[in-house]
Subunit: 360 residues, 2 copies
Amino acid sequence: MKTLQLDLGERSYPIYIGADLIGRADLTTPHVSGERVAIVTNETVAPFYLGRTSAAFAAYNPIDVVLPDGEKYKTLDVLNRIFDALLKNRCDRRTTLVALGGGVIGDMTGFAAATYQRGVPFIQVPTTLLAQVDSSVGGKTGVNHPLGKNMIGAFYQPRAVIVDTSSLNTLPDRELSAGLAEVIKYGLIRDAEFFAWLEQNIDKLLTRDTNVLAYAIERSCRNKAEVVTADERESGVRALLNLGHTFGHAIETGLGYGEWLHGEAVGAGMALAADMSRRLGWLRDADVARIQRLLQRARLPVNAPAPMTPERFMDLMSVDKKVQAGKLRLVLLKGIGEAVITDKFPATALDETLRAARAA
Amino acid sequence: MKTLQLDLGERSYPIYIGADLIGRADLTTPHVSGERVAIVTNETVAPFYLGRTSAAFAAYNPIDVVLPDGEKYKTLDVLNRIFDALLKNRCDRRTTLVALGGGVIGDMTGFAAATYQRGVPFIQVPTTLLAQVDSSVGGKTGVNHPLGKNMIGAFYQPRAVIVDTSSLNTLPDRELSAGLAEVIKYGLIRDAEFFAWLEQNIDKLLTRDTNVLAYAIERSCRNKAEVVTADERESGVRALLNLGHTFGHAIETGLGYGEWLHGEAVGAGMALAADMSRRLGWLRDADVARIQRLLQRARLPVNAPAPMTPERFMDLMSVDKKVQAGKLRLVLLKGIGEAVITDKFPATALDETLRAARAA
């Protein structure tokens, strides 16, 4: 087991990474405060891991909240089901929530923890690759709104993140690829050496080589932790983690949540960002080709889906959280391993990118 | 105009108190960040004050969100209408929300600000006495749940509180009395001299003597600011501000939100707390009589409503935010001007208090 530390002063916490960690009371117990635990999970994950997780918290009389599975359930209404369960079970302020599942469960449980009785502690137990390398780390929590993804939420840090790499054995292939999109992202924005390593090891990742996966997770978490430590509330460098996300969120909202997985939309979004960077003269053709090839080998889309016209993209991107003073800001690439956030680009470059993305 | 300062480090903010402050752009403008303002109010307040408020923010292209009036609308569903309006109007992260109304509007708008795009600034413009002396100051925000009051929320401080005492001219008598409950509360928990002053001046308050009201508001806000400065997140002394609230919240939830006004329920709750303190031998009969008399002169209830059986009280109070380890903690009185929070009381004292409260 490896332990990384996310250093945020009094809000610091450990990230444990290793095999068979779910169910280890010695890891979880030190991070519970209060007398009660509530485990939030979904119908897909519960049959595999809820029993072992409950056992690890047996000393805290745990209750379960089992939600339906999927991005389309990441809503205020479904969030309210968590509150219903907590109140029906008389959970007081000294209750610790546990998020057992992928990004949707982690984001919703974290937001429930941020707002139940004005704030209770929570622990992340991510069971998808995407949640393990990205969404469970860093304290972004929230739900979607029909008009925009993650529009309602809070920055609220967990007390610990427990990454059980064995849980990836039950992950569907499509979800594995979606998680690889966020892994590749770290290479693109700040870790060129890792990008090259991914080019060497992508096939082993797809066949779920245990050691290779564990290394990719650890290096991703290390990158994430460094960025979040430098800028917890996204006033600067943290925005670079959104490479591909402005395009990606528009795809997710535009198609209807859950049609494409988040990681798939981010994969296509990164391909668009690379193409636009090339059009601006910032990225060489050869680098764009490397990026597209790695995404494709990871079985991720590199084009926008047919319903996403340039007009629809522009409409949906106008409510992006990075918009400032009515100006859209995008994360683009100046090279593999070097991202920038900018509103200084000709509108034509964006328009051409969106047109080409669909035609391709 | 008086200016108090709530000192919370980088989250410090001014409380302006005076006549005809609504509409004064010189007070509001320095506290706007970004380019856009969204004013949230309700159907009752809008005809009186929305025009002038919008004029004060004219430079920021303000949008209005007009909600229905009443405690029963302080829900996640109605909160979502604020998000709908913000997103439809393409409000980005650099939007400042303005809460124009009573406690319900202030609490909901504050919570919307805490969670819209993970946090935008907001300004409180309270127009009821209760909001001016209590709920607009100190950063408690949130909504109700059918099983418990204020169960979903966040600590989130405004950038400024603008108390226009002239707005009380349009306040219904019943709302004025409800606000006086929180004013009396400060006297009871920490300011015996103010309690005696209130005994002298209660009739002038009820006839809305401008100077007397302004003094009561200022002294209340000063008390509130001192407590919040000492304990922003209610890990200690701030809990004393909940005198009467555990009983009161049970009444509000038990009767259905909006049947009794919040201040009315708190008035009855403080009478119960005084009676229970007497039963414990902590408060003299003469002091209990003074408390009851002042509440009655303020036209507040001093008994529990008929539907609230002791069993119903106990059931509803079991989810109170001050419950710890399954033990109910109550704010009680050791004298006028001296409150304590305690779980050390015989169950019989509470039971007798609840039985007597209903029979009376």
